[in-house]
Symmetry: C2
Subunit: 111 residues, 2 copies
DNA sequence: CAGATATATAAGCCGTGACTTATATATTAA
DNA sequence: TTAATATATAAGTCACGGCTTATATATCTG
């Protein structure tokens, strides 16, 4: 449990634009240009956010001609899960709520 | 799923000192002065971090004479859990890993 | 009440990081 | 090869937030 490493991870997710980009990508693979069209910032700014997300293993990319297609990597969320699990160990009574919450999501219709 | 609200939450946890203070408190109720002794920053800085954590419902406090004792509120982590659960819905195959990880923690000796 | 102790709030400084524009690199098309 | 398109990198600007010191507030003690 390295606190400052986790803090960096949280900080990385702590930018609204970057988080929104990740959220968008979680709905499906997208090219940089298409992404840039969805946000009120320049293409270089989008590329910079993608670069950060990629450094942390939250996204990966694939070239197709001149386009780069980015997609999310669910394993990238492991630090978050680990961090949460750590505190769940201190508060076992909360574990059940989390479990049931996740079961709900699992059974809910996929949007 | 309000992205910018979640981003603010991540940003709030994204400071290493603030996260370390939360981590320390998760081990047990502590007074402000005692906390300040554990970190290389001034007492006002500690109070400011505690103020932010309190605004987000991650800690609560209780007065005892001149001292203020702070303790964590596990419910404060709900935004994080909700955010994760949202993505788990997109990646159900990852749900099992999380569950088993948490079960491990649950059975591991409490440190 | 006066002084000491514990914490909170105010004001100001300063580094970090998210953005911009300009430019470099890679790929395709003519 | 030259031009056009898609993305990445570089350099510079600026706002935000975490820190400091100074001071206000609350509680206890003599």
């Amino acid at each position: 449990m390295n606190v400052s490493h986790h803090a960096e991870f949280f900080q990385m997710l702590g930018d609204p634009t970057r988080l929104a980009i990740f959220d968008h990508l979680s709905r499906g693979e997208t090219s940089v240009g298409e992404l840039a069209g969805h946000f009120p910032i320049s293409q270089p700014a989008v590329s910079q956010h993608l670069g950060v997300l990629r450094e942390w293993g939250l996204v990966e990319r694939r070239r197709e001609g001149r386009n780069m297609y980015y997609r999310t990597r669910s394993e990238g969320l492991a630090p978050l899960i680990d961090w949460l699990a750590h505190y769940q160990a201190f508060w076992p009574e909360k574990l059940d709520r989390l479990k049931s919450l996740m079961k709900e999501m699992h059974h809910a219709p996929r949007k």
